[in-house]
Symmetry: C2
Subunit: 431 residues, 2 copies
Amino acid sequence: MKVPPVKGTRDFYPQQMAVRNWIVDGWKAVSLRNGFEEYDGPIFEYLKMFQIKSGDEIAEQLFSLTDRGGRELAIRPEITPTLARMVNQQINSLPRPIKWFSVPRLCRAERPQKGRLREFFQWNIDIIGVDDVLADAEVIFTTVDYLRSIGLKPEDIQVRISSRKLLATFLSDIGIAEKQLDSLYALLDKYKKIPSDTFEKILLEQVSDSATVKKILDFMAVDSLEQMDEIVNVGNDVRDPVIDLKVLFSYLDVMEIREYCVFDPSIVRGLAYYTGVVFEIYDRASELRAIGGGGRYDDLLKQFGGPQITGTGMGMGDCVLEILLEEKGLLDKQLPKRQLDYFVAFAEKSGGGTIFNIVAKLRSKGYKADFSYKYKAGNLAKQLKEASNRNAKNCIIIGEEFMGKNNELVIKDMDSGEQELVEVAKFFAQL
Amino acid sequence: MKVPPVKGTRDFYPQQMAVRNWIVDGWKAVSLRNGFEEYDGPIFEYLKMFQIKSGDEIAEQLFSLTDRGGRELAIRPEITPTLARMVNQQINSLPRPIKWFSVPRLCRAERPQKGRLREFFQWNIDIIGVDDVLADAEVIFTTVDYLRSIGLKPEDIQVRISSRKLLATFLSDIGIAEKQLDSLYALLDKYKKIPSDTFEKILLEQVSDSATVKKILDFMAVDSLEQMDEIVNVGNDVRDPVIDLKVLFSYLDVMEIREYCVFDPSIVRGLAYYTGVVFEIYDRASELRAIGGGGRYDDLLKQFGGPQITGTGMGMGDCVLEILLEEKGLLDKQLPKRQLDYFVAFAEKSGGGTIFNIVAKLRSKGYKADFSYKYKAGNLAKQLKEASNRNAKNCIIIGEEFMGKNNELVIKDMDSGEQELVEVAKFFAQL
């Protein structure tokens, strides 16, 4: 019986697995060097956990299930609710700030399309407990630190930054009611993602007033923070989001990633829970979906039954990133080659048992070592070809020098082609 | 709203994540040095894929779900069906032997108990396309290579080895019908897992004849291959499973892991698909469930719609292993410590921007570097304490020597306590 894979999922054959591992290992290494610690949660949680956050497409895209005990569960579509649950559970014992990262496998029941699959991996970094745009700057720095480390330059990608608080202040200034905000955020998030006439039509339906539509469009098109000063009026009692953004950009400057970053008030983020700085990373040509994005959330822990503690974070999936790296020619040349330290070949017609003794010893000493299951044919040329195909650095040849009284192995350097005879005990002593 | 985690799942806080990573990284490293390549499949497959193999407890323990398109899916309870599907899909292009490994996340709707959870990680290695007990030996070697590398000795663990073909031949000899075999395997697999009187009672119900019960019990108690020669009669037309086992043990001897291995005809494996060598790894005290197990399967690919190609493999979960390592005191001392290359501290009251420039530079050069968000208080003692708590090798102190005209950083070696003054440009040039 032949069963196909499920649409929108991926099989990771060794070649694809090498790509995934290279991306994930890069995420992990950069997280660690930026001082983040790794966490993870279960692949499924109670369904209701993913329904807490309102204004969210994600809740419609759940793979939900009922277990035999009648519990309603869902495969995680994102890890942020799990993060909130885990932090809340140990809120009194966790030292702050909490700087955590994770690389969860996530599932969303979306229509599969370019850069969007039903199952994917997502890098998440979060700093919880620091109410300072310095933490937002550190999250953005860590994101760029990774993207730069894999060869992406300011001419390839751009971090577009704005502030949900700036937008909220502006919308309030022009008379938008608070209860309209969540649905408006979801729409404004589509500003550059849907055709402009469609966008304007839907916006007019929502705000019912063409003067307001114009004000919003003007706001979204502003391209400098200085100009924003004149548009948004902040009372004396709130922290000025424009000043926050200016301080943020000064940090990004000191961190030497300013050239990757741009102020862009059209960045909104669809999710309801953002309250401060928000950002998205795009390819400069804007041909692909967002590579990643994030922002500050003041109320997230509280929504999940915990205290009001602020946090800021970023998420980046593997699908769009991989497409971009492929397009830029940055993938193949950076992938680590599969290789062996030693390939052990057998040049005789009988008595091949020693081969396993030598292979086993090499492996136990930590060397990557292998042999051919066809060694019994004693065809040395074929075995050397396999050694070469598998990028073996050295080939150990067990031939008459060994099988006779001398106990000598031929060690062949596969790059230079040079060979030397080494007595077996001496060889292992030298390793 | 506070939602609890689902029973039988685990939250991996950084401390638990470090344990999981150490185990998984060990599995991966040992697989690679033994010449296996990594693969993975999706977390869910069509439900029917997990129902193909009969005689299987696993099918009853599925987390199944129906997606919005009405497809019946299930979270994978094991990866072997996925392996069979993936190999079959590319059977004509994959070079053989196929030596693959994977570390899938698996879910089973079991009653959670010691060493058994609803979600776990399992190391899988398989060699497909080699009809030679040498491949079984290599699978067992790789398993022991890992267990030995983490400090487990022959006095801690034992690989108990038998042959499904040996058992089948014996059962056929004593008159058991072929259609009875699958249910009998499932029962015999419980020989050492349930009380002996219960076992004998159920066995009598299945074979309806106390003479046959005695023969089976005698067979299960044999402790040498030599003795088995007298018990099992193999016709000339089939490969003798006793000889296969003798050859296997001679390979294990050459591979220098013989002392970890023992012949034990009571090893059956519950799964229906095994056809040759079978084995399970136990703690010597037999106080825990099996740490892992595996064996040869001749018909697996065929059952999944592919050709008849033989394979042999092993699976090992993380739960029992972790309990054993904890009990043997092998866990804490082997876990890599969380550490930093540099902690950057600030000893002044103002002008802290430089701290981020230095931290960012260090990170981008690949060093693990961090700072305290409380740097603004300028409390050096507290910052040095944090550096020490985080196992920083060095602490860079930005003080008056830097903020004045000298541009000099204090570099403090946290082990020796020694300090030196280095001009900042020179410091980065030396890195």
